[in-house]
């Protein structure tokens, strides 16, 4: 009742605005799609405001629209803005036809009933790497397909390591990494920088170590989890990592590394362009796990989804649009512009063939794990909040790692 009147009000308001501004409000007709003032066009929302109309990305969207025989109306939002905007739009029954969102948001939007499943929209996700697709799955249903992935790895400064006499090949597990940091510190340089800030970014950066210890997100106070947090705490106590990590975003942490004083930095694929500008020789290795081997890092990157529409007839065209966007040749273009790793092995191979530097990143993405995977879905945000709080408590010295994680576990339940 409430909802339908609100919808009518919105529709009326939109119509008034459309008429008043004298746009082509060709009597948008009745029915639930009337909320869309521009009847023929298909709306696409993405979190890439850095790309303007002349960018490859915008052109790709238009091309896909032409192929599907429709006009595209694209709106770019800031990432942090997009999930709230999508929720509000769904509340007004005015969702975009195609919505591209950050992967941990997918399960929240799915929980809200905003997204269609691949059963409904007939998207083909068979080629996508299962570890990446898992971030968009909950309750046995899939809610979209990844447009690309990024993840975390360790950047290292070759000059600093050389001065300290560290061979990067010797860094295989936590013990050897800590030993390398000790050598660097002795040589008068700084060890490692990362971001342990009290937001989702902090959890994102801690997860490779958390998972690398063998810990599970459902059991925050396990002995393995404590060992991961103690590792970070130990680095801070010994001065291998600066105290400022507590307030570092991934960007400020990168700036510290770019100063050239640090041997290691935990950061993402998206910094590759910046790394070339940094003016020193760098390398990339996957984050090691506790006893040797590569730790699973969390996946970043966006999913292409098809929100629920009042007019179910629109899905067929939306599906064409998404299939076009995520076709192999287009993925290659998109992921190169975004500096992402492609979600299918077919395209990953092409990327590595074109640019060998991407090899460690492709490996890292293959080992990576979605934050909302393991069917955590909407439980993840709560767990993550407690996790970053525990990291902050332990690193700032207000609680021991054991106590901090025990508090986190009881609060996350």
């Amino acid at each position: 009742m409430n909802r339908s009147t609100r919808r009518r009000l919105t529709a009326a308001a939109m119509t008034v605005v459309a008429v008043a501004t004298g746009t082509t409000a060709c009597s948008s007709g009745s029915g639930s799609t009337s909320a869309k003032a521009d009847g023929g066009a298909y709306t696409i929302w993405d979190p890439y405001p850095q790309f303007d109309k002349s960018s490859d990305w915008a052109k790709l969207l238009d091309d896909c629209g032409t192929k599907a025989g429709v006009k595209i109306k694209r709106t770019a939002f800031d990432t942090s803005d997009l999930s709230n905007k999508a929720l509000l739009a769904a509340q007004q029954d005015n969702s975009a036809d195609v919505l591209i969102v950050d992967n941990p948001v997918v399960s929240t939007l799915a929980e809200a009933g905003v997204l269609t499943t691949t059963d409904d929209n007939k998207l083909d996700t068979s080629k996508v790497d299962p570890n990446l697709l898992a971030a968009g799955q909950s309750g046995g249903k899939t809610y979209g397909t990844p447009v690309g992935a990024n993840t975390l790895a360790l950047y290292y400064n070759k000059e600093v390591l050389k001065e300290a006499g560290v061979d990067i090949g010797s860094v295989k597990d936590w013990k050897s990494l800590t030993a390398a940091l000790a050598k660097v510190e002795k040589a008068g340089k700084k060890g490692i920088t990362f971001s342990a800030i009290g937001t989702e970014e902090g959890s994102f950066q801690f997860l490779p170590w958390f998972w690398g210890s063998g810990a599970q997100l459902t059991d925050l106070d396990s002995a393995e989890a404590v060992s991961a947090l103690s590792l970070w705490k130990g680095w801070l106590d010994k001065g291998y990592a600066p105290n400022s990590v507590l307030n570092n975003t991934q960007t400020t942490s990168w700036q510290e590394f770019a100063s050239g004083d640090y041997a290691f930095a935990e950061n993402g694929t998206w910094q590759l362009a910046g790394a070339k500008k940094a003016g020193f020789d760098y390398g990339v290795v996957p984050v090691p796990n506790a006893t040797g081997g590569n730790a699973a890092a969390p996946t970043g990157g966006e999913f292409v989804t098809i929100p629920v529409q009042g007019d179910t007839g629109r899905y067929a065209t939306s599906q064409k649009l998404v299939s076009c966007l995520t076709s192999s040749e287009n993925l290659l273009v998109t992921d190169t512009t975004l500096s992402y790793v492609a979600p299918t092995s077919e395209v990953q191979d092409k990327q590595v063939a074109a640019n060998a530097e991407l090899k460690p990143w492709v490996d890292a993405v293959k080992a990576a794990k979605g934050r909302t995977s393991d069917d955590l879905g909407t439980k993840y945000p709560k767990i993550s909040e407690q996790l970053w709080k525990a990291v902050q408590s332990a690193l700032s010295g207000s609680k021991s790692p054991e106590d901090a994680l025990a508090t986190a576990q009881s609060a996350a339940k």
Partner: protein, 327 residues
């Protein structure tokens, strides 16, 4: 509780009588035959402001109250069918382990900021009231913190107080003091945001108190000086008592501003580490927007507690003012 119901009742009454007396008086003078159309005109003139108040003040307040009394999940937010749960959100907030520290931090933050802002502002106002050379220029310089966008000043403070590369620790190091983890130690983070906020709040106090000082007649000081009162005595017996009404409004406005300070804390510490600088304002934001899964209900509840706190102090102010007026 009594006050909250009394005063809002009284305020609209006053407005209405004001409008009513204003409206019929011109008709009596000019057109006594058509009082109704004049009344219509009066209402028409009143309509924009009423509409504005209702749309931009009453409705958001009502929405916030409504949010805080319902159990909103992302699903019910979209479907619009959140069940009414009474005070459950408030109970959740009161039982939260963050509640007691947040309350304490809010109280300490507000009290300490107010005391220092007022004391420093008053001292500077008296100082600049001496009208020495360059006093106008200097006074203008003191206004700079007020003119800067908060995001600029907060980011600058955050750089200056950085543990490893901040200028404050570099200065401390130069004089042989150990570096302090201003923003990253639980025992210092609240102090750091208080210092930054005092710096930002001083100009406001300075300006208002300075203008208050202008209204104190110079003859009083001359008379007191003739009677042999020293500078200290003149301040406590003339300046301070005569400045009381201005001080009261300065402190009240300062209180409302300080209670809701959010940007500075969020930019400098995000309320951390480990909630050590969380106030109600940052907590409310954290609940509503700081997580991938927003908790609108409890977030709105915390916001309402802040509104109530500001309202209570506003009523205290009204009562004090009335007493002053009567005496």
């Amino acid at each position: 509780m009594n006050h909250t119901t009394q005063v809002p009742d009284r305020l609209p009454v006053r407005e209405e009588t004001g409008a009513a007396t204003a409206a019929p008086s011109p008709p009596r003078a000019r057109a006594p035959r058509r009082p109704t159309s004049q009344q219509w005109a009066a209402w028409a003139f009143l309509a924009p402001v009423t509409l504005y108040l209702a749309l931009f003040y009453a409705y958001p307040l009502y929405r916030n109250l409504d949010l805080s009394l319902r159990n909103y999940t992302v699903r019910s937010f979209v479907q619009g069918d959140a069940p009414f749960t009474g005070l459950a959100n408030y109970r959740t907030v009161f039982d939260d382990p963050t509640f007691a520290p947040a309350l304490l931090h809010t109280a300490v933050f507000t009290a300490v900021c107010l005391v220092f802002q007022y004391a420093i502002g008053l001292a500077l106002a008296v100082f600049f009231n001496q009208h020495f050379r360059l006093s106008a220029t200097l006074r203008a310089l003191f206004l700079v913190p007020w003119l800067l966008p908060l995001i600029v000043s907060a980011s600058t403070w955050s750089w200056m107080l950085n543990s490893d590369s901040g200028i404050v620790n570099a200065a401390l190091h130069a004089v042989g003091v150990d570096p302090v983890n201003w923003l990253t130690s639980p025992s210092w983070s609240l102090t750091s945001v208080i210092i930054a906020n005092i710096w930002i709040g001083v100009p406001f106090n300075l300006v208002v108190l300075y203008s208050g000082l202008q209204s104190i007649p110079g003859a009083l000081y001359e008379a007191a000086a003739l009677d042999g009162a020293g500078a200290w005595r003149r301040f406590w017996s003339i300046t301070f008592p005569l400045l009381r009404p201005v001080s009261a409004i300065t402190l009240l406005l300062g209180l409302v501003y300080t209670l809701k300070v959010f940007d500075i804390i969020w930019i400098m510490t995000k309320g951390g580490p480990a909630d050590s600088s969380t106030t109600f304002a940052t907590w409310s934001y954290q609940l509503g927007f700081g997580n991938l899964l927003p908790a609108f209900g409890p977030g709105a509840a915390v916001g309402n507690l802040l509104v109530v706190a500001a309202l209570v102090f506003g009523l205290v102010y009204l009562r004090v003012q009335r007493k002053q007026y009567e005496s």
